[in-house]
Amino acid sequence: MGWFALWRRNRNLNAAIRKARTSQAPASIAAAIRKLISGGEYDKARLIARQAVESYPKSASIQDALRDLKKVRYAQEMKDLSEKIKQNPNPTLYARLAEMYYDLGETDQTLEVCRQCVANFPEYEGAYTIMGRLRHERFRKEGLARDGMKAVENYEKTIRLNPNSYKTLLELGGLYLEIGAIRLGVEKLEKIQEFDRTDERTNKLLDWARGQTPLPEEDLEDLFKIQQERRVQIRLETAADRIGMTAAQVERKVGRLEGIPGIISVGLVTPAGSPIVYRIHGEGLEEASFLEMLSSVFSAAQECSQRMDIGGVERGTITGEYVRVHFVAFETLALVVLTDVQSSKPEEVDLRVDAFIDEELYARGGAR
Protein backbone atom coordinates (compact mmCIF):
# COMPACT_ATOMS: atom_id res chain seq x y z
CA MET A 1 0.00 0.00 0.00
CA GLY A 2 1.38 3.39 -1.00
CA TRP A 3 1.73 6.20 1.56
CA PHE A 4 -1.25 8.10 0.18
CA ALA A 5 -3.54 5.06 0.33
CA LEU A 6 -2.27 4.32 3.84
CA TRP A 7 -2.88 7.91 4.95
CA ARG A 8 -6.38 7.85 3.44
CA ARG A 9 -7.16 4.49 5.09
CA ASN A 10 -6.06 5.74 8.52
CA ARG A 11 -7.98 8.96 8.05
CA ASN A 12 -11.14 7.00 7.20
CA LEU A 13 -10.69 4.69 10.17
CA ASN A 14 -10.10 7.57 12.58
CA ALA A 15 -13.21 9.26 11.22
CA ALA A 16 -15.13 6.00 11.81
CA ILE A 17 -13.91 5.82 15.43
CA ARG A 18 -14.81 9.48 16.02
CA LYS A 19 -18.23 8.93 14.53
CA ALA A 20 -18.83 5.85 16.65
CA ARG A 21 -17.81 7.69 19.81
CA THR A 22 -19.91 10.77 19.18
CA SER A 23 -22.92 9.22 17.48
CA GLN A 24 -26.07 8.46 19.41
CA ALA A 25 -27.68 6.41 16.67
CA PRO A 26 -27.09 2.62 16.79
CA ALA A 27 -27.14 2.39 12.97
CA SER A 28 -24.25 4.91 12.68
CA ILE A 29 -22.27 3.07 15.34
CA ALA A 30 -22.87 -0.21 13.51
CA ALA A 31 -21.67 1.36 10.24
CA ALA A 32 -18.53 2.62 12.00
CA ILE A 33 -17.87 -0.86 13.46
CA ARG A 34 -18.14 -2.36 9.98
CA LYS A 35 -15.73 0.23 8.60
CA LEU A 36 -13.22 -0.73 11.29
CA ILE A 37 -13.71 -4.42 10.46
CA SER A 38 -13.08 -3.86 6.76
CA GLY A 39 -9.98 -1.81 7.67
CA GLY A 40 -8.66 -4.73 9.72
CA GLU A 41 -8.89 -2.82 13.03
CA TYR A 42 -10.49 -5.69 14.93
CA ASP A 43 -9.44 -4.65 18.44
CA LYS A 44 -10.88 -1.17 18.04
CA ALA A 45 -14.03 -2.61 16.45
CA ARG A 46 -14.38 -5.03 19.38
CA LEU A 47 -13.97 -2.24 21.94
CA ILE A 48 -16.59 -0.05 20.31
CA ALA A 49 -18.93 -3.01 19.77
CA ARG A 50 -18.69 -3.93 23.45
CA GLN A 51 -19.58 -0.38 24.53
CA ALA A 52 -22.39 -0.24 21.95
CA VAL A 53 -23.91 -3.49 23.22
CA GLU A 54 -23.95 -2.06 26.74
CA SER A 55 -25.69 1.11 25.58
CA TYR A 56 -28.06 -0.54 23.08
CA PRO A 57 -28.50 -4.17 24.15
CA LYS A 58 -31.58 -4.65 21.97
CA SER A 59 -30.44 -2.89 18.78
CA ALA A 60 -30.62 -5.21 15.76
CA SER A 61 -28.04 -3.20 13.80
CA ILE A 62 -25.51 -3.39 16.65
CA GLN A 63 -26.14 -7.13 17.03
CA ASP A 64 -25.63 -7.56 13.27
CA ALA A 65 -22.35 -5.64 13.36
CA LEU A 66 -21.23 -7.70 16.34
CA ARG A 67 -22.04 -10.90 14.45
CA ASP A 68 -19.98 -9.66 11.48
CA LEU A 69 -17.10 -9.03 13.83
CA LYS A 70 -17.36 -12.51 15.31
CA LYS A 71 -17.56 -13.98 11.81
CA VAL A 72 -14.26 -12.36 10.88
CA ARG A 73 -12.73 -13.46 14.16
CA TYR A 74 -13.93 -17.04 13.78
CA ALA A 75 -13.39 -17.41 10.02
CA GLN A 76 -9.92 -18.93 10.11
CA GLU A 77 -10.57 -21.18 13.09
CA MET A 78 -13.81 -22.45 11.54
CA LYS A 79 -12.00 -23.23 8.32
CA ASP A 80 -9.25 -25.07 10.22
CA LEU A 81 -11.80 -27.01 12.29
CA SER A 82 -13.73 -28.10 9.18
CA GLU A 83 -10.49 -29.25 7.60
CA LYS A 84 -9.45 -31.18 10.72
CA ILE A 85 -12.89 -32.81 10.95
CA LYS A 86 -12.52 -33.99 7.37
CA GLN A 87 -9.10 -35.49 8.00
CA ASN A 88 -9.38 -36.83 11.51
CA PRO A 89 -12.78 -36.28 13.13
CA ASN A 90 -13.17 -36.21 16.89
CA PRO A 91 -16.13 -35.07 19.02
CA THR A 92 -14.49 -32.02 20.56
CA LEU A 93 -13.72 -30.60 17.10
CA TYR A 94 -17.40 -30.95 16.18
CA ALA A 95 -18.47 -29.39 19.47
CA ARG A 96 -16.14 -26.41 19.04
CA LEU A 97 -17.39 -25.80 15.50
CA ALA A 98 -21.02 -26.13 16.59
CA GLU A 99 -20.42 -23.68 19.47
CA MET A 100 -19.04 -21.15 17.00
CA TYR A 101 -22.05 -21.45 14.70
CA TYR A 102 -24.27 -21.20 17.78
CA ASP A 103 -22.53 -18.03 18.90
CA LEU A 104 -23.01 -16.55 15.41
CA GLY A 105 -26.72 -17.32 15.64
CA GLU A 106 -26.56 -19.75 12.70
CA THR A 107 -29.10 -22.25 13.95
CA ASP A 108 -29.27 -24.56 10.94
CA GLN A 109 -25.50 -24.88 10.68
CA THR A 110 -25.24 -25.53 14.42
CA LEU A 111 -27.80 -28.32 14.22
CA GLU A 112 -26.16 -29.78 11.12
CA VAL A 113 -22.73 -29.99 12.80
CA CYS A 114 -24.32 -31.52 15.91
CA ARG A 115 -26.18 -34.08 13.79
CA GLN A 116 -22.91 -35.09 12.11
CA CYS A 117 -21.25 -35.37 15.52
CA VAL A 118 -24.05 -37.56 16.88
CA ALA A 119 -23.92 -39.77 13.77
CA ASN A 120 -20.19 -40.37 14.24
CA PHE A 121 -19.93 -40.23 18.03
CA PRO A 122 -23.32 -41.12 19.53
CA GLU A 123 -21.87 -41.49 23.03
CA TYR A 124 -20.53 -37.94 23.18
CA GLU A 125 -22.78 -35.76 25.31
CA GLY A 126 -21.56 -32.33 24.05
CA ALA A 127 -23.57 -32.33 20.83
CA TYR A 128 -26.80 -33.23 22.66
CA THR A 129 -26.19 -30.40 25.13
CA ILE A 130 -25.77 -27.83 22.35
CA MET A 131 -28.87 -29.11 20.52
CA GLY A 132 -30.84 -29.01 23.77
CA ARG A 133 -29.75 -25.45 24.52
CA LEU A 134 -30.58 -24.31 21.01
CA ARG A 135 -34.05 -25.90 21.04
CA HIS A 136 -34.70 -24.55 24.53
CA GLU A 137 -33.79 -21.05 23.41
CA ARG A 138 -36.05 -21.38 20.37
CA PHE A 139 -38.87 -22.65 22.56
CA ARG A 140 -38.49 -19.60 24.81
CA LYS A 141 -38.53 -17.30 21.78
CA GLU A 142 -41.19 -18.89 19.57
CA GLY A 143 -43.07 -21.10 22.00
CA LEU A 144 -43.35 -24.01 19.56
CA ALA A 145 -44.12 -27.33 21.24
CA ARG A 146 -41.79 -29.26 18.93
CA ASP A 147 -38.78 -27.18 20.05
CA GLY A 148 -39.68 -27.84 23.67
CA MET A 149 -39.95 -31.59 23.10
CA LYS A 150 -36.63 -31.64 21.24
CA ALA A 151 -34.97 -29.65 24.04
CA VAL A 152 -36.16 -32.24 26.58
CA GLU A 153 -35.09 -35.15 24.38
CA ASN A 154 -31.55 -33.76 23.98
CA TYR A 155 -31.15 -32.71 27.60
CA GLU A 156 -32.30 -36.16 28.75
CA LYS A 157 -29.71 -37.78 26.46
CA THR A 158 -26.99 -35.54 27.92
CA ILE A 159 -27.97 -36.56 31.44
CA ARG A 160 -28.08 -40.23 30.51
CA LEU A 161 -24.47 -39.94 29.29
CA ASN A 162 -23.36 -37.68 32.11
CA PRO A 163 -25.69 -37.91 35.14
CA ASN A 164 -23.81 -35.17 37.01
CA SER A 165 -24.09 -32.49 34.33
CA TYR A 166 -25.06 -29.63 36.66
CA LYS A 167 -25.94 -27.10 33.94
CA THR A 168 -28.12 -29.52 31.99
CA LEU A 169 -29.91 -30.75 35.13
CA LEU A 170 -30.60 -27.15 36.10
CA GLU A 171 -31.79 -26.17 32.60
CA LEU A 172 -33.99 -29.23 32.24
CA GLY A 173 -35.37 -28.93 35.76
CA GLY A 174 -36.18 -25.26 35.09
CA LEU A 175 -37.81 -26.11 31.76
CA TYR A 176 -40.02 -28.76 33.38
CA LEU A 177 -41.12 -26.29 36.05
CA GLU A 178 -41.74 -23.61 33.41
CA ILE A 179 -44.32 -25.78 31.63
CA GLY A 180 -45.91 -27.11 34.82
CA ALA A 181 -44.29 -30.55 35.01
CA ILE A 182 -43.54 -30.03 38.70
CA ARG A 183 -42.77 -33.66 39.60
CA LEU A 184 -40.29 -34.07 36.74
CA GLY A 185 -38.67 -30.71 37.53
CA VAL A 186 -38.22 -31.57 41.21
CA GLU A 187 -36.75 -34.94 40.24
CA LYS A 188 -34.02 -33.31 38.12
CA LEU A 189 -33.23 -30.60 40.65
CA GLU A 190 -32.95 -33.13 43.47
CA LYS A 191 -30.30 -34.89 41.38
CA ILE A 192 -28.18 -31.72 41.67
CA GLN A 193 -28.62 -31.82 45.44
CA GLU A 194 -27.10 -35.29 45.48
CA PHE A 195 -23.73 -33.73 44.67
CA ASP A 196 -24.27 -30.09 45.68
CA ARG A 197 -26.69 -29.16 48.43
CA THR A 198 -25.58 -25.53 48.58
CA ASP A 199 -26.37 -24.38 45.06
CA GLU A 200 -28.57 -21.31 45.53
CA ARG A 201 -30.39 -21.41 42.19
CA THR A 202 -31.33 -25.06 42.65
CA ASN A 203 -32.53 -24.52 46.19
CA LYS A 204 -34.60 -21.49 45.20
CA LEU A 205 -36.29 -23.41 42.38
CA LEU A 206 -36.91 -26.38 44.65
CA ASP A 207 -38.45 -24.19 47.34
CA TRP A 208 -40.81 -22.72 44.78
CA ALA A 209 -41.65 -26.10 43.22
CA ARG A 210 -42.42 -27.75 46.56
CA GLY A 211 -45.02 -25.07 47.17
CA GLN A 212 -46.90 -26.04 43.96
CA THR A 213 -49.50 -28.76 43.56
CA PRO A 214 -48.30 -31.22 40.89
CA LEU A 215 -50.70 -32.29 38.16
CA PRO A 216 -52.02 -35.85 38.48
CA GLU A 217 -50.42 -36.64 35.13
CA GLU A 218 -47.51 -34.85 33.52
CA ASP A 219 -47.87 -35.48 29.79
CA LEU A 220 -45.07 -33.44 28.26
CA GLU A 221 -46.59 -33.25 24.81
CA ASP A 222 -49.82 -31.85 26.24
CA LEU A 223 -48.02 -29.41 28.51
CA PHE A 224 -45.88 -28.05 25.67
CA LYS A 225 -48.99 -27.75 23.48
CA ILE A 226 -50.72 -25.70 26.17
CA GLN A 227 -47.71 -23.36 26.24
CA GLN A 228 -47.77 -23.11 22.45
CA GLU A 229 -51.47 -22.24 22.42
CA ARG A 230 -50.95 -19.59 25.10
CA ARG A 231 -48.19 -17.94 23.10
CA VAL A 232 -50.24 -18.02 19.90
CA GLN A 233 -53.19 -16.46 21.74
CA ILE A 234 -51.06 -13.62 23.12
CA ARG A 235 -49.65 -12.89 19.66
CA LEU A 236 -53.13 -13.04 18.15
CA GLU A 237 -54.46 -10.51 20.64
CA THR A 238 -51.53 -8.15 19.99
CA ALA A 239 -51.87 -8.47 16.21
CA ALA A 240 -55.65 -8.10 16.29
CA ASP A 241 -55.27 -4.95 18.35
CA ARG A 242 -52.83 -3.59 15.79
CA ILE A 243 -55.30 -4.04 12.94
CA GLY A 244 -58.23 -2.82 14.99
CA MET A 245 -60.10 -6.08 15.55
CA THR A 246 -60.68 -8.60 18.25
CA ALA A 247 -58.79 -11.88 18.29
CA ALA A 248 -61.98 -13.81 17.52
CA GLN A 249 -62.66 -11.64 14.47
CA VAL A 250 -59.17 -12.24 13.04
CA GLU A 251 -59.51 -15.99 13.60
CA ARG A 252 -62.90 -16.07 11.90
CA LYS A 253 -61.65 -14.07 8.96
CA VAL A 254 -58.54 -16.20 8.40
CA GLY A 255 -60.88 -19.20 8.33
CA ARG A 256 -62.58 -17.69 5.28
CA LEU A 257 -59.52 -18.36 3.11
CA GLU A 258 -60.70 -21.95 2.97
CA GLY A 259 -62.31 -21.19 -0.39
CA ILE A 260 -59.00 -20.79 -2.24
CA PRO A 261 -58.67 -23.66 -4.74
CA GLY A 262 -56.08 -26.20 -3.67
CA ILE A 263 -55.53 -24.65 -0.25
CA ILE A 264 -53.76 -26.90 2.25
CA SER A 265 -53.13 -24.51 5.10
CA VAL A 266 -52.89 -20.86 6.02
CA GLY A 267 -51.14 -18.96 8.78
CA LEU A 268 -50.71 -15.41 9.97
CA VAL A 269 -47.20 -14.81 11.34
CA THR A 270 -45.17 -12.05 13.01
CA PRO A 271 -42.08 -10.65 11.18
CA ALA A 272 -39.94 -13.20 13.03
CA GLY A 273 -42.19 -15.96 11.70
CA SER A 274 -43.99 -16.72 14.96
CA PRO A 275 -47.49 -18.07 14.29
CA ILE A 276 -50.47 -15.94 15.31
CA VAL A 277 -53.39 -17.82 13.75
CA TYR A 278 -53.29 -20.93 11.61
CA ARG A 279 -55.67 -23.32 9.94
CA ILE A 280 -54.90 -26.65 8.33
CA HIS A 281 -57.42 -27.59 5.68
CA GLY A 282 -55.67 -30.44 3.90
CA GLU A 283 -55.36 -33.92 5.33
CA GLY A 284 -52.08 -35.54 6.25
CA LEU A 285 -50.21 -32.34 7.13
CA GLU A 286 -48.67 -32.60 10.56
CA GLU A 287 -49.30 -29.48 12.66
CA ALA A 288 -45.80 -29.29 14.18
CA SER A 289 -44.11 -29.50 10.75
CA PHE A 290 -46.43 -26.88 9.33
CA LEU A 291 -45.69 -24.50 12.21
CA GLU A 292 -41.97 -25.03 11.77
CA MET A 293 -42.31 -24.30 8.05
CA LEU A 294 -44.34 -21.15 8.79
CA SER A 295 -41.75 -19.94 11.21
CA SER A 296 -38.78 -20.69 8.98
CA VAL A 297 -39.86 -19.67 5.48
CA PHE A 298 -40.89 -16.08 6.16
CA SER A 299 -38.05 -15.28 8.55
CA ALA A 300 -35.47 -16.70 6.10
CA ALA A 301 -36.87 -14.52 3.31
CA GLN A 302 -36.90 -11.49 5.57
CA GLU A 303 -33.31 -12.04 6.70
CA CYS A 304 -32.08 -12.59 3.14
CA SER A 305 -33.73 -9.52 1.64
CA GLN A 306 -32.64 -7.24 4.46
CA ARG A 307 -29.04 -8.43 4.32
CA MET A 308 -28.99 -8.12 0.56
CA ASP A 309 -30.10 -4.55 1.07
CA ILE A 310 -33.23 -4.77 -1.06
CA GLY A 311 -35.57 -3.75 1.76
CA GLY A 312 -38.26 -5.60 3.68
CA VAL A 313 -40.09 -8.54 2.10
CA GLU A 314 -43.39 -7.63 0.45
CA ARG A 315 -44.36 -10.96 -1.03
CA GLY A 316 -42.96 -14.25 -2.23
CA THR A 317 -43.80 -17.55 -3.88
CA ILE A 318 -41.93 -20.80 -3.45
CA THR A 319 -42.81 -23.54 -5.90
CA GLY A 320 -41.98 -27.14 -5.16
CA GLU A 321 -42.85 -30.42 -6.84
CA TYR A 322 -46.17 -30.77 -4.97
CA VAL A 323 -46.81 -27.62 -2.96
CA ARG A 324 -46.54 -23.90 -3.39
CA VAL A 325 -46.04 -21.40 -0.57
CA HIS A 326 -47.34 -17.85 -1.00
CA PHE A 327 -46.58 -15.15 1.50
CA VAL A 328 -47.63 -11.51 1.63
CA ALA A 329 -46.49 -9.01 4.23
CA PHE A 330 -48.86 -6.35 5.56
CA GLU A 331 -48.91 -4.12 8.65
CA THR A 332 -45.76 -5.81 10.00
CA LEU A 333 -47.47 -9.21 9.75
CA ALA A 334 -47.40 -11.83 7.02
CA LEU A 335 -50.02 -14.12 5.64
CA VAL A 336 -48.62 -17.47 4.49
CA VAL A 337 -50.74 -19.74 2.30
CA LEU A 338 -49.79 -23.29 1.35
CA THR A 339 -51.48 -24.69 -1.76
CA ASP A 340 -51.38 -27.80 -3.86
CA VAL A 341 -49.45 -27.18 -7.12
CA GLN A 342 -51.78 -29.40 -9.16
CA SER A 343 -55.04 -27.70 -8.30
CA SER A 344 -54.09 -24.05 -7.88
CA LYS A 345 -52.82 -21.30 -10.15
CA PRO A 346 -50.30 -18.96 -8.50
CA GLU A 347 -51.79 -15.77 -10.03
CA GLU A 348 -55.24 -16.72 -8.79
CA VAL A 349 -54.02 -17.44 -5.27
CA ASP A 350 -52.15 -14.11 -5.20
CA LEU A 351 -55.30 -12.25 -6.28
CA ARG A 352 -57.44 -14.00 -3.68
CA VAL A 353 -54.90 -13.32 -0.93
CA ASP A 354 -54.62 -9.62 -1.90
CA ALA A 355 -58.39 -9.28 -1.98
CA PHE A 356 -58.62 -10.99 1.39
CA ILE A 357 -56.12 -8.57 2.97
CA ASP A 358 -57.83 -5.52 1.45
CA GLU A 359 -61.41 -6.52 2.01
CA GLU A 360 -61.26 -8.57 5.18
CA LEU A 361 -58.28 -7.59 7.26
CA TYR A 362 -58.19 -3.91 6.32
CA ALA A 363 -61.96 -3.64 6.66
CA ARG A 364 -61.66 -2.79 10.33
CA GLY A 365 -64.32 -3.19 12.92
CA GLY A 366 -64.96 -6.77 11.90
CA ALA A 367 -68.62 -6.26 11.02
CA ARG A 368 -68.27 -8.70 8.13
Binding site: E292, C304, I310, I318, E321, L338
Partner: protein
Protein backbone atom coordinates in the same frame (compact mmCIF):
# COMPACT_ATOMS: atom_id res chain seq x y z
CA UNK B 1 -21.59 -19.93 -18.65
CA UNK B 2 -20.29 -16.44 -17.99
CA UNK B 3 -21.57 -15.35 -21.39
CA UNK B 4 -25.06 -16.68 -20.65
CA UNK B 5 -25.17 -14.75 -17.38
CA UNK B 6 -23.94 -11.59 -19.12
CA UNK B 7 -26.68 -11.97 -21.73
CA UNK B 8 -29.28 -12.54 -19.04
CA UNK B 9 -28.07 -9.43 -17.20
CA UNK B 10 -28.62 -7.34 -20.31
CA UNK B 11 -32.38 -7.67 -19.66
CA UNK B 12 -33.49 -4.25 -18.36
CA UNK B 13 -33.95 -4.27 -14.60
CA UNK B 14 -31.61 -7.20 -13.85
CA UNK B 15 -28.82 -6.12 -11.52
CA UNK B 16 -26.83 -9.35 -11.49
CA UNK B 17 -26.96 -13.12 -11.56
CA UNK B 18 -25.07 -15.96 -9.98
CA UNK B 19 -25.06 -19.75 -10.22
CA UNK B 20 -24.57 -21.18 -6.76
CA UNK B 21 -24.88 -24.64 -5.24
CA UNK B 22 -27.06 -25.07 -2.17
CA UNK B 23 -23.95 -25.30 0.01
CA UNK B 24 -22.78 -21.88 -1.20
CA UNK B 25 -20.20 -22.81 -3.83
CA UNK B 26 -20.16 -20.28 -6.66
CA UNK B 27 -20.24 -21.94 -10.11
CA UNK B 28 -20.36 -18.69 -12.08
CA UNK B 29 -21.24 -15.11 -11.28
CA UNK B 30 -21.90 -11.88 -13.06
CA UNK B 31 -22.96 -9.45 -10.38
CA UNK B 32 -23.03 -5.70 -10.73
CA UNK B 33 -20.62 -3.42 -8.86
CA UNK B 34 -22.97 -3.06 -5.89
CA UNK B 35 -23.33 -6.77 -5.20
CA UNK B 36 -20.65 -8.68 -3.36
CA UNK B 37 -20.26 -12.21 -4.71
CA UNK B 38 -19.47 -13.90 -1.38
CA UNK B 39 -22.34 -12.17 0.40
CA UNK B 40 -24.90 -13.00 -2.30
CA UNK B 41 -23.69 -16.62 -2.47
CA UNK B 42 -23.78 -17.08 1.31
CA UNK B 43 -27.22 -15.52 1.71
CA UNK B 44 -28.65 -17.41 -1.24
CA UNK B 45 -27.28 -20.71 0.05
CA UNK B 46 -28.61 -20.03 3.52
CA UNK B 47 -32.07 -19.27 2.19
CA UNK B 48 -32.09 -22.29 -0.15
CA UNK B 49 -31.02 -24.63 2.67
CA UNK B 50 -33.52 -23.27 5.20
CA UNK B 51 -36.38 -23.30 2.73
CA UNK B 52 -35.57 -26.79 1.46
CA UNK B 53 -35.34 -28.16 4.98
CA UNK B 54 -38.63 -26.67 6.13
CA UNK B 55 -40.43 -27.85 3.00
CA UNK B 56 -38.94 -31.33 3.36
CA UNK B 57 -40.53 -31.46 6.82
CA UNK B 58 -43.97 -31.13 5.25
CA UNK B 59 -43.22 -33.76 2.62
CA UNK B 60 -42.04 -31.62 -0.28
CA UNK B 61 -39.15 -33.14 -2.18
CA UNK B 62 -37.74 -30.15 -4.03
CA UNK B 63 -37.75 -26.39 -4.40
CA UNK B 64 -38.04 -25.54 -8.08
CA UNK B 65 -38.44 -21.82 -7.97
CA UNK B 66 -38.44 -19.03 -5.43
CA UNK B 67 -39.60 -15.49 -6.24
CA UNK B 68 -39.18 -12.88 -3.55
CA UNK B 69 -40.31 -9.25 -3.88
CA UNK B 70 -38.97 -6.71 -1.43
CA UNK B 71 -39.21 -2.94 -1.05
CA UNK B 72 -36.25 -2.14 -3.32
CA UNK B 73 -35.78 -5.21 -5.44
CA UNK B 74 -36.62 -8.76 -6.35
CA UNK B 75 -34.80 -12.04 -6.02
CA UNK B 76 -35.48 -15.10 -8.12
CA UNK B 77 -33.98 -18.53 -7.42
CA UNK B 78 -34.44 -21.20 -10.08
CA UNK B 79 -33.36 -24.80 -9.65
CA UNK B 80 -31.32 -25.73 -12.73
CA UNK B 81 -30.40 -29.20 -11.53
CA UNK B 82 -26.69 -28.74 -10.95
CA UNK B 83 -27.24 -25.66 -8.81
CA UNK B 84 -29.51 -22.65 -8.42
CA UNK B 85 -29.56 -19.69 -10.77
CA UNK B 86 -30.10 -16.64 -8.57
CA UNK B 87 -31.08 -13.33 -10.16
CA UNK B 88 -31.22 -9.96 -8.42
CA UNK B 89 -33.38 -7.26 -10.02
CA UNK B 90 -34.78 -3.83 -9.32
CA UNK B 91 -38.33 -3.64 -7.96
CA UNK B 92 -40.05 -2.52 -11.17
CA UNK B 93 -39.30 -5.55 -13.33
CA UNK B 94 -42.18 -7.65 -14.67
CA UNK B 95 -41.87 -11.03 -12.97
CA UNK B 96 -43.56 -13.05 -15.74
CA UNK B 97 -41.22 -11.71 -18.39
CA UNK B 98 -38.29 -12.22 -16.05
CA UNK B 99 -39.21 -15.87 -15.46
CA UNK B 100 -39.18 -16.54 -19.22
CA UNK B 101 -35.67 -15.09 -19.47
CA UNK B 102 -34.47 -17.03 -16.43
CA UNK B 103 -35.90 -20.33 -17.66
CA UNK B 104 -34.23 -19.83 -21.02
CA UNK B 105 -30.87 -18.95 -19.41
CA UNK B 106 -31.20 -21.94 -17.06
CA UNK B 107 -31.80 -24.32 -19.97
CA UNK B 108 -28.80 -22.94 -21.84
CA UNK B 109 -26.57 -23.38 -18.79
CA UNK B 110 -27.68 -26.98 -18.30
CA UNK B 111 -27.21 -27.90 -21.95
CA UNK B 112 -23.79 -26.30 -22.11
CA UNK B 113 -22.71 -28.52 -19.23
CA UNK B 114 -24.22 -31.59 -20.83
Amino acid sequence: MQKILAELNSTPGILGSIVVTDDGMVVAADLGPNLDQDTVAALAANMIQRTKRSLQNIGETSVKRYVLSAGYGKLVFADIGIAFLVVVTNQNIDVNHLLVEITSAGNRIVHRRA
